[in-house]
Symmetry: D5
Subunit: 142 residues, 10 copies
């Protein structure tokens, strides 16, 4: 059973390049074996991540992520059983929301900075689809 899970979280401290590199390194080390694919967005002190994979694998990882002290609280935006992944090509793609065209963010949120904590799940998913369609995701895995 495949699922898609989208959550947002607030970083406990400043999101330095090192923090990000560490998380992405862990993702790229663990996700292929777990059959997990997805995208990690960050911007200011906010993370937003979509995870796709088997229901058990995604939840095991989500449990770990919830317990990770580097962010808190972790808030689910969307969760669905699926028959087809949409992000199958990314072990863990990456988006710096500060580099995204503000009018794309504005299309889905009240201000030109995304605040996922007040954004409905479907709008957050639609933003991710638009980022993918406009090739703003870094780190594709062949």
């Amino acid at each position: 059973m495949l699922v898609r899970l989208l959550y947002a979280s607030r970083a406990s401290g400043p999101v330095t390049q090192d923090t990000l590199d560490a998380i992405l390194a862990e993702s790229r080390r663990n996700n292929p074996a777990l059959g997990i694919t997805g995208i990690l967005c960050h911007g200011g002190d906010v993370y937003m991540q979509v995870l796709e994979g088997g229901r058990e694998a995604v939840n095991t990882l989500y449990n770990r992520i919830v317990r990770d002290a580097r962010h808190d609280p972790v808030t689910l935006l969307h969760y669905q059983e699926i028959t087809e992944r949409r992000f199958a090509g990314w072990t863990m793609g990456q988006v710096n929301l500060h580099k995204v065209n503000p009018s794309i963010l504005l299309k889905y949120s009240e201000k030109p900075q995304l605040d996922p904590f007040v954004t409905p799940g479907c709008a957050a998913m639609a933003l991710l689809e638009e980022l993918m369609a406009t090739a703003q995701i870094v780190g594709r895995t062949g």
Copy 2:
């Protein structure tokens, strides 16, 4: 929560270039900070404006607009909670209805001049979409 609001109003006095410039200046000064985007149409003594943004911001502005002595009465044509803006690219685009091809106006109204006060909300929205699709809106903000 994003909303889209469309209203029409009748100008209290003649709509001179100065009046228009004043309104547009106020819009461009205030709307970006409020996260509001939209289009202002005018023609004869009629205004028709679409506003998009957070529910609170749009309503705060609409309250101000309703109390503005430069027009009266202010009549809602359409109001909807949305997940995606359609006019995200305009701080406040501008359309002079007198310069629009009359057969476009005729498509949505009884006479080749738009009278929004007798036009159903969905027809007024459809006219705005057609104006955008045919690139008749001035003042795009990159």
Copy 3:
């Protein structure tokens, strides 16, 4: 409130070029002020006309047309409240059904001559759309 009205009628006498010219002259004189657009088809002793415009204007004209001694009976084929005109570009377009490719007529009727009195309203509307799509209407108004 915009409406679309389609009717057929049988001419009281032979449809000469003069009769037609008279009707079209009256249409072009009156319709723009009424905000009415449409198409007049004729063939043999049959008229078929679609009228679009404000509900009041279209009915006022239809009342006049019903009382016009040049044809009788006048039979409604289709009537609908609409939000968009389909024939906004014609003050009163014109189609000589005798010049239309018979296989187009045959597509919507039992014989290669249209008999609107036994044709359902939706088939008659579909024929008009096909005539417009295949550019068989004369007299477009810019």
Copy 4:
């Protein structure tokens, strides 16, 4: 081909009991032979009538009604090809809109008096259905 036609008209003079009796007498004399059934509402100087029957018969009668000097203008509210009548039981039922509970009228119109000339066709049809459902129609024919 069965059709249902609904129109409204404004009486040329005061609607006395005699005028009404005359119209209903004509209806009851002519309609059965034409296979026409329906309802005639009146109130103040307004008539609203629904006619059901063969397309030809209904239009022949509507032509006559349009030419009748006792009212003007005659405005179509609804017209549809149908497979089943809804008013098959009335040669010409009768409703005095002044005797109808005002809150029923208010449900479908802006004021507790019906003004069919500003009422959309579907709301007028819905009012007629509610009048039938609440047994406010006089003159059923077995």
Copy 5:
């Protein structure tokens, strides 16, 4: 053209019985002539009101309400062109939200006190329907 408008507002000062009586007196004085029906809910410093009637009448009143100093800000929750009223029987029904069963409020909101400013329009409408269905509205007008 009938519309339904639902808004919420925050009272400028304490909502005493006198304030309420004044508003309801004004409503009952003005609304019948305007053809306006509806429901006024209050609870704590919050008002929530649904208004039904002609588009022009409802907007004229809403303009007045927006300018009324007794509350601010006034926030639209729902607005729709309709063919049938749902609250035709109330000149201005009344609900004290503090007297409503908390589990009914909880069904539509995050806490057992309604906070309409964070409630989506459709949930607020659904709450009003449930209040009507469970006969919790005071002040029906025959």
Copy 6:
């Protein structure tokens, strides 16, 4: 924004009456203030719980539950933004799955004991609805 969240988990040790009492006591102590309602099912070493409430509140609690050492892993079965709660009447209702009629369990699962880890989310939700409809939930809060 209201959400509904359904998860299953496997108890770390035997589910004694004491463990259950402790969890239910915590739930009844915390949930009302959080505006959270729901149902807790248990059977063998399996928990299945549905939580309804504000998105933030439900996620804060879910984060806590994920970190609770008394069970592991915690697996999401269903998550949805909603406009109406279905379990508004229970601070935390309780179901002992061992006391449920086995043919109800069999209707939604492969064996007459529920194994939520292999059950699709919609089937698990349907089982909960059937338990509520057949009054098998203990501990309603007025």
Copy 7:
């Protein structure tokens, strides 16, 4: 493959009780072995018959009926592959259309006598359903 076939025909001579008895005798002799069920309506010089059964059986019978000199022309009104019969209980039910309440006929046709040759197939089927629902069919077979 089950089918339902509905046709109408015009009797070559007067429909006497003897003609009818002969047809019904033939039907009752042949249809059970063919697995055919249905209804035969007659009225004036018109027959209308619905036949249900295997596609081959119904067509074999229809071929025979088309060649039967007692009527002509035979006109199909409706034909459909089905998964469930609607007239499974009648070897060949019987309806004398002259004995049917005229307002039932009027509901589906232009005049209170059915003329199936100008009736759309779906209206004719709807009439048959109404006759069955109002128990006007004679000759049920247990």
Copy 8:
């Protein structure tokens, strides 16, 4: 009223070029006056023909075809009232099923030879559409 009728039949004797020429000659002689268009397929001892035209005309011809000794039994596959013909361009197009690519036949039937007697009507219609779309029909009439 336009209808589309599709039937299959088994030839009484061998289908020689002469038999075919005779049938096609009759079709081309009679069909234009009747307003009938269509396609005749043959292959082995099987005919399959689609006829479009007025309901009366198509049935009159079908009656004649049913009585034609050159084939038997004649089995209806599909019959429908339509508003638009699909084969308006063929007085009587012609397809030799033996010359059709077998994998097209296989797409709609159990074996690479079409046996219409065991084929559902919709599959047979779909085959005809595919033959038209792939230009395998001979004898188009301008």
Copy 9:
């Protein structure tokens, strides 16, 4: 993953009471442990059986049934992944098709004896539902 599987088969020899008793004994011995529920119909030399349960369990049993020498060929009529069983109450219910009212069989088949080998899967399923709804199934298990 739950599935529903419906098949028909032809008995290799006469279906005596002993054969049936043996099959039902095996079913009742094995099915509860496999979590399989269903219905076995028989009539003449035909079996028709519906099986519900986990996908693996149902297929393991179906493999065994296909290899069972007591019948051949075994033909699938219907197969679907489901979220709810419809026959959860029967370890293996039983229907003697010879005792079923023939007009129920006739409703779904060409002759009053069911021949499942020419019956579409959906019609066979509909027959089973009707047998359950009319309480013609023997051997319910509490």
Copy 10:
């Protein structure tokens, strides 16, 4: 009656080129006469095969395949009555799942190796469609 059947099975021993050649030889020898088309996928010790053809032919073959000792268990993933084949061009196409781009497999399954035994039928069908669309099937038959 055409059907489509999809199943998966586990090979009893290693899948050598010889085993595969033998199966494909049998398929190409038998399937054309049976009117059966389809695709055989293999990868590791797993087979997945789609079969299209007449219901009887497909089931006869499936019975034989179920009894074939070279694999076990055989598990149905999808079965449907169809009007059009999707794999009409392959006597028995062939796919080596080990040569398929892993991200295509990942799109439909939890790991980049397909495990059809835990894959829902619709996802397995979607994978096959994508393999066909991306031309990864070997052995097309003209």
